[in-house]
Amino acid sequence: MGFRQVKEYLAWLYFQYQIISCCEVMEPWEQSMFNTIFLTIVAMVVYTAYVFIPIHIRLAWEFFSRIFGCHNAVAS
């Protein structure tokens, strides 16, 4: 997997993105606008995931472990 192949694959992926979102047939300023909005939304999703998912997983883990912990305490 040479560097050139990776570059070609990324170029192909970018072309697919442009085709599927109709960017290829739009004027340049429309393309920039759409790219900006799309990247903003993606950035917000990534940031939210980064901030909130670890905390939620920790809380869920504590919740379930408390249930099973109480169960153990009652049983023994």
Partner: protein, 559 residues
């Protein structure tokens, strides 16, 4: 029902052709379908109805297609807003200042679609060509400076573009220049009158006799324009108080003729015999709406080959239904005349039915015969009635004589009346090309609709910008294709449509297939999930042998 009941004549003609071609090829060791059939038995090869499933794309494709249209619509609203508030000059149609308070003219969905989606990719259509539409043609190069609102010609001509879009199925468009020139010298170009007044020439009589012989019917009448043949003759055959049962995918010429006639129109699902039977039963049981009287006539309108799907009509089933419920059948063979059937006589011969089974045969000369015009054929009473009562014979100028001569020569060529078997050879070429091309496309993994024997091959692309990219990139590779989107097809099923010709050689087809393969990978349109075989090399000799065994296998199955 399978044996042509038209008598020994029909059988005899077909057999003669087969014997001739058999004799001429016994010298070479080339095997192909004709020789096999003649050796096996004397019966012409008749086809049972094929099951033609229209394959569906994976779900993510449809989701992404609608998403693409949604993004296009959002940007369309944005651009409309900017145009309305003056941030951008409006290049499209607007009302005048004085009319701004009237009912708005350009706010419906069609105009919105045209302004915002169609305009962006408009350069894929209406490309002017400047040569005859043979297997290669020349295109005038044009560019747009303002994103397809206006075009200008650079003056350069793109030469020898491979033609995969013209309806030149048998390659007869420029074959008879000398004869046509002679007729042009004798008769001139215009006729100057209608059929009923002074516009019936001996050329028309000759052509009508030839069409009668070609289709093995009692009489025929020719008209100057194929669209007008449908639009002006259906009103003469049916009127108020009659019922028209028309396939939902019928051509707009038939729809226009049906609407002009004033009859009640009901559509049945495409090529679906249950839907047709249900409509027939409801019509006979309940009669006309409101009064409950019986319908005066029930006419079933179908096409031989549907141009957007490439499916062939299930004629034996429809004939059985029509006989059971006593309806009439009108078949529009615009694409199927000259291309299907073992000697090119259309769908009736393809299925091996009797000539009497179809009441009205209609067809056009613009596709396989390389001319323009249409015909209606059938029983003598029907055609004689149409000679007087058709709107076209009363009001429209009759067919131009050089055009009639082109059709006469083409038809003689196909029937073999000019003394050679080259007509049949061309038909065989076409069938071979169709089998090869379709087989290869399926193998590569494209979704293609339609019957395996139809010369019209749609390849589904689905997304709006993919059809524009396909058309533009194919032109860059010097291949001209036709792409179709909404409103000619359903919104989510945009396609590229290939029309094969008998004059395409194997090398040309290989070149096109290679380009299609490359574009298929680039655009990611190989959606087919059925038996994706490993893509084999296109130019080795095994493909020919594959084809022989396929033909052999299919013949055994039919027996």
């Amino acid at each position: 029902m399978a044996n042509p009941g038209g008598g020994a004549v029909c059988n005899g003609t077909v057999l003669n052709h087969k014997k001739q071609s058999n004799g001429s090829q016994r010298g070479n060791c080339r095997k192909n379908g004709i020789v096999k059939e003649a050796q096996q038995n004397g019966k012409p090869c008749v086809h049972k109805t094929a099951i033609e499933p229209l394959e569906e794309a994976p779900l993510y494709t449809l989701v992404l297609t609608y998403m693409g249209y949604g993004i296009g619509a959002l940007f369309g609203y944005l651009r409309d807003f900017m145009r309305n508030w003056g941030f951008e000059k409006c290049n499209g149609a607007v009302e005048r200042e004085e009319q701004k308070d009237f009912v708005p003219l350009y706010q419906d969905f069609e105009n919105f679609f045209t302004r915002n989606l169609y305009m962006r990719i408009r350069d894929s259509w209406n490309r002017p060509i400047c040569s005859e539409p043979g297997p290669y043609f020349d295109i005038m190069e044009r560019v747009s400076d303002d994103y397809n609102w206006t075009f200008r010609f650079t003056g350069r001509i793109l030469k020898n573009v491979i033609n995969m879009g013209s309806y030149n199925f048998l390659g007869l468009t420029a074959s008879y220049i000398e004869q046509v020139k002679d007729v042009l010298d004798t008769y001139g170009a215009g006729v100057g009158s209608t059929r009923l007044e002074m516009g019936t020439l001996d050329k028309h009589k000759e052509l009508e006799a030839l069409v009668t012989k070609f289709l093995n019917v009692e009489a025929a009448m020719v008209f100057g324009m194929g669209f007008a043949t449908n639009a002006t003759n259906i009103p003469a055959l049916v009127g108020k108080g009659c019922l028209i049962l028309s396939d939902e995918l019928n051509h707009s010429s038939m729809i226009m003729g049906s609407r002009i006639s004033g009859a009640t129109i009901r559509c049945f699902k495409h090529d679906n015999l249950e839907s047709l039977e249900k409509n027939l039963r409801d019509a006979i049981i309940y009669g006309q709406p409101r009064t409950g009287r019986a319908w005066k006539k029930i006419l079933i309108l179908v096409e031989g080959i549907y141009s957007m799907e490439g499916t062939i009509v299930n004629l034996p089933g429809i004939v059985a239904l029509k006989k059971k419920y006593k309806a009439y059948l009108y078949v529009d063979e615009a694409h199927s005349i000259g291309t299907v059937g073992s000697s090119g006589r259309g769908v009736r011969e393809y299925y091996g039915l009797a000539p009497d089974d179809v009441d009205v045969y209609m067809g056009t000369f613009s596709k396989s015969f390389g001319a323009v015009g249409g015909y209606i054929a059938g029983k003598k009473e029907i055609v004689d009635y149409l000679r007087i009562h058709s709107h076209s014979s009363t009001y429209a100028t009759s067919m131009s004589p050089p055009v009639a001569e082109q059709v006469i020569q083409s038809m003689k060529f196909i029937m073999g009346l000019d003394g050679s078997t080259e007509g049949l050879q061309r038909l065989r070429n076409l069938h071979r090309n169709i089998k090869y091309f379709r087989g290869k496309l399926k193998e590569m993994g494209f979704i293609t609709y339609g019957n395996d024997h139809s010369p019209v091959i749609p390849v589904l692309l689905y997304m709006p910008s993919k059809i524009a990219a396909f058309a533009r990139l194919m032109l860059k590779k010097n291949i001209g294709v036709v792409v179709v989107g909404f409103p000619a097809t359903p919104m989510a099923e945009a396609r590229a449509r290939f029309c094969l010709s008998a004059l395409h050689t194997r090398e040309v087809l290989d070149e096109v297939l290679e380009a299609v393969d490359e574009l298929g990978d680039l655009l990611n349109v190989k959606y087919s999930r059925q038996n994706k075989l490993k893509h084999s090399a296109l130019t080795n000799g095994t493909s020919f042998d594959e084809e022989e065994s396929c033909e052999e296998m299919s013949f055994e199955l039919e027996d």
